[in-house]
Structures are given as structure tokens and as C-alpha cells.
């Protein structure tokens, strides 16, 4: 690096500080916003990926005429005998519209005789006597929902209206650990009979069947065997859900990528337009430098230094700003784009994920283009005959 030319580039930037400050500010804002969006998206994606592997290997639902129907629990007997099936559990779950908050609660019925249930419940809830949910009719809900119910009714219970119009009032036994907020805010856990009553599902019917297999290699064979049982069965595997999630997040981030690329394109148009029409003063400066012995190479070197100084400083500053905005301020405004505007919104802190690929991508998409947008017009001016420019 030529230190003298570098010093000259810095002096040149100071001389035309208004123009360069404008470009620097726009570039920093553009990079900060795009880095913030991708960081929030990555952070939420990571949250979703933590738990997706714990879903059942296969979920069987029934669809007739494109509408989901309840399954007969007796189907379990046919599924469990398929070689390779480890467990098949009928599940009762559905949505309950909580009009006050204009939101859907997810009601899930737990099988009181599931040996795994008590152990798992102890891990995910605050102080619960698991025998209570098995023997008595009660509910476990998220902390946020509990707080809202307390504020509205000032009671530790909730009344559900069944499809027939009757009311079922269930006491709130416990709340979920706050660590599960991202997953549990809209969930209401209760036992199977209460869930069936709230959702109006007849005894002996289930919403779907969750199946686990002993050997993942046999998954596709088991899937095909279940599909062949009835054309109305829709079999969804864990792999499909995981693949879907990757697509969904890419789709959401892709929309922002589109905005980012449009803004970037507009920015480079502005930069190119501003710099391609070099002012008389700048053209004269290049001509004088050439007439006092500078080579085209030296002129270009100065221009490269100028653009690298602006671009590199803007890039580092935008990383600092995006981290501050996303993790210190918790991304006010942008977070709602990903999370919606429901009253029942989980409270959580975005977790940090250092994504080197993201930084490298944003760097190479913006910086070389910016340098090119600065250097090309300067090169055009530098190859013009200095005598002609002076005249």
C-alpha cells in the first residue's frame, strides 16, 4: 500500500466531505437494515430448529374432500403391527378461538396413561403435581396467557365454550417454563377427556396419530404402507416438516432479500450517477495530477483507496449498529414483521447466532460493486488527454 497516496485519498475525502458523507450514510443505513433483517431471521430460524427434531417421525391425518376429518382410534391397532413401528399414539388437539384476544389457542389433550408424560411435564412446567392433571380436570398454559387471563377475569381458571354452547371451567394448575415461551404461548394442555369436550370430539376419535419408528431407514416403507391403508390418509413425515420449514424461512427471508437487492440497485444507480458525471473541479484535478507526472495507475489507486475507506468503514459500522439494534434494542419495528401483531405475543430475547456466511455474502454483494461504481468513472476521466481537459 502506498501511504502517501492513501493520505492523499483521505485529504480528498475531507475536501468533498458533504458528497462523501451522504454516500457513507446511505451505504451504512442500507447495510445495517439488511444485516438486521437477516440476523433476526437467522435468530428465529434457530429457535424453530432447536425443537423440530423432537417431532413425531410420522403424523397421520385424514382428509376427505380436501377437509380434515377425525380418525378412528381403532386404526392404531392396524398401524402398530407394521414392522418397524415403535409407537403409535392418538392425539386430540385443535384450535379454540379466544375472541377477547382475537387469537387462536391450541388445545392439546394429554393421555393420562402415557408413562412418558409425567416426566416430560415436570421438565417443562413450573411446580406441577402431575397426578393432578391425570385425575382432575385442569389446564396448563403459557405464562403470557396466564397473565392476560388474570388481568381479564382475576381468577386462576378459564371457561371454555364447547361447540354445543355449554361452558367448561377448568382451573389453571401450572404454567410453562419461560424458556419455552416461543413455543408455548398459545398452548393449553389438558387431559384427553377435557380436550375432547372443549373441541367437541366424540369418544373414540382422534385428530391425528403420531407415530415413531425404530429405524429411520424404514421410514419411507412405513409411510407407503400407511398411505396404502386408505386413500384418505395424509401421511406427513418429520423430514417433510423440516424441509418445509427451510423453505418457509427462505421464502420469508427471500422477500426481504428482494427488497434489499432493489434498494442496493437503486443505491448503485445513485452512486454511479453522482460519480459518473465528475464535476469540472474533479476532472480538472485529475488532469492536473496527470500533467504533473501522475500515471493513470496512481489516479485509480487514489480512487480505490477513497472507495475502500468509505465502504470498509460503513461495513464495520453497520455490523456494530445492527448488533446494537437487534440484540440491545431487541429490533423494535422489524421484529413485528416476523412475529405478527397479536395480543398474545411471546416475550423472549432474540438469541445470538454468529453467521460468518451472512457477513461474507453481504460484503461481497455490496463492497466490490461500490468500488467498481467509483473507479469506472474515474478511469474514464483519467484516460482523457489532460491538455484537452485543461482547454
Amino acid at each position: 500500500m502506498n501511504i502517501k497516496l492513501f493520505e492523499y485519498a483521505l485529504l480528498s475525502l475531507t475536501r468533498r466531505r458533504t458528497k462523501h458523507l451522504f454516500i457513507f450514510t446511505i451505504l451504512t443505513l442500507l447495510l445495517s437494515i439488511s444485516l438486521s433483517i437477516f440476523t433476526i431471521s437467522n435468530s428465529i430460524r434457530q429457535e424453530a430448529e432447536y425443537s423440530v427434531n423432537n417431532l413425531p417421525d410420522i403424523t397421520v391425518q385424514k382428509q376427505i374432500g380436501g377437509r380434515q376429518q377425525y380418525l378412528d382410534e381403532a386404526l392404531i391397532d392396524d398401524i402398530i403391527v407394521i414392522p418397524g413401528v415403535l409407537s403409535a399414539t392418538p392425539r386430540v388437539w385443535g384450535y379454540y378461538n379466544f375472541e377477547y384476544l382475537n387469537t387462536n389457542l391450541t388445545i392439546i389433550g394429554l393421555d393420562p396413561f402415557d408413562p412418558d408424560m409425567s416426566k416430560t411435564l415436570t421438565k417443562i412446567t413450573n411446580e406441577i403435581d402431575t397426578s393432578y392433571i391425570i385425575n382432575e380436570k385442569s389446564i396448563i398454559i403459557g405464562e403470557q396467557l396466564h397473565k392476560i387471563i388474570k388481568e381479564i377475569y382475576n381468577k386462576d381458571e378459564f371457561s371454555f365454550q364447547t361447540p354445543s354452547g355449554d361452558y367448561i371451567t377448568l382451573p389453571i394448575t401450572s404454567t410453562f417454563e419461560s424458556a419455552s415461551n416461543m413455543l408455548s404461548t398459545d398452548i393449553v394442555l389438558t387431559n384427553l377427556s377435557s380436550a375432547s369436550s372443549i373441541l367437541g370430539i366424540e369418544t373414540g376419535l382422534a385428530t391425528d396419530i403420531a407415530i415413531n419408528v425404530s429405524n429411520p431407514q424404514e421410514l419411507s416403507t412405513i409411510t407407503e404402507k400407511i398411505e396404502n391403508m386408505s386413500p384418505s390418509f395424509k401421511v406427513i413425515t418429520k423430514d417433510q416438516i423440516i424441509a418445509y420449514y427451510q423453505n418457509m424461512f427462505d421464502y420469508k427471508a427471500g422477500i426481504f432479500l428482494l427488497f434489499f437487492l432493489s434498494s442496493l440497485f437503486t443505491f448503485f444507480m445513485i452512486v454511479f450517477d453522482k460519480l459518473s458525471g465528475l464535476t469540472n473541479e474533479e476532472t480538472k484535478e485529475i488532469a492536473i495530477l496527470k500533467s504533473v507526472g501522475w500515471e493513470t495507475r496512481n489516479v485509480l489507486q487514489v480512487k480505490i483507496y477513497e472507495s475502500v475507506i468509505i465502504a470498509f468503514t460503513a461495513f464495520i459500522l453497520s455490523i456494530c449498529l445492527s448488533i446494537f439494534y437487534v440484540y440491545f434494542l431487541q429490533a423494535p419495528g422489524l421484529q413485528n414483521i416476523f412475529m405478527g401483531y397479536s395480543y398474545l405475543k411471546p416475550h423472549f430475547e432474540l438469541t445470538y447466532k454468529f453467521d460468518l456466511n451472512l457477513l461474507i455474502t453481504v460484503f461481497f454483494v455490496t463492497i466490490p460493486l461500490y468500488i467498481a461504481a467509483v473507479v469506472i468513472p474515474a478511469w474514464k476521466a483519467a484516460i482523457t488527454d489532460p491538455g484537452e481537459v485543461m482547454r
Partner: protein, 93 residues
């Protein structure tokens, strides 16, 4: 050389701030193993996908699981173009 010196100091400061921020957030905003265990146990128990955000049409939790590809414009009813076609091709079966 004053300008070069000033610029070097500025860049050094920015880099120090950047690394301090990264160090701070990676130590304080990382999900602990206990929290991950709680989340995994939760999903294991309820067996439902997605986060609990209510974003009207984009919330997958509020759909039937068998209609999971709908928001991407994938018709689940048609096996050839359905979402499962992306994961399991006929040949693999």
C-alpha cells in the same frame, strides 16, 4: 500523515467495538443447554411444529399439518406436485 493516523485510530476503535459487541452478545444471548432441553421436551410432549406466533395466514401452527405446504402454493392433495414430492420421489420409494 495525520489523516492516516486518525483513520487508523477510528478503524481500530470500530473493530474493537464490533468484537466487544460480538463477545457480549455471544456470552449473554446464547441459549443455555437447559433452555434447549426444555424446548425439546416441550415439542416432544405436544408434537406440534412451529413457533407460537400468531401471524394469521403465515402461521403454520394454525393449519392442519397435512396442509402444511399451502402457504407456499403447494397443493398437498396432488401427490405429484405435493410437498412430499420434494422430499420423497417415487424413485426413492
Amino acid at each position: 500523515m495525520n489523516k492516516t493516523k486518525g483513520f487508523t485510530i477510528l478503524i481500530t476503535l470500530l473493530v474493537i467495538i464490533m468484537f466487544s459487541e460480538i463477545a457480549w452478545v455471544s456470552s449473554s444471548r446464547n441459549t443455555s443447554k437447559t433452555d434447549i432441553m426444555v424446548r425439546q421436551s416441550f415439542t416432544h410432549l405436544v408434537g406440534l411444529p412451529d413457533l407460537s406466533f400468531y401471524i394469521s395466514s403465515t402461521s403454520e401452527r394454525h393449519r392442519a399439518i397435512s396442509n402444511i405446504g399451502n402457504s407456499l402454493g403447494i397443493a398437498q392433495l396432488n401427490r405429484e406436485t405435493g410437498f412430499s414430492g420434494l422430499v420423497y420421489s417415487k424413485g426413492q420409494r
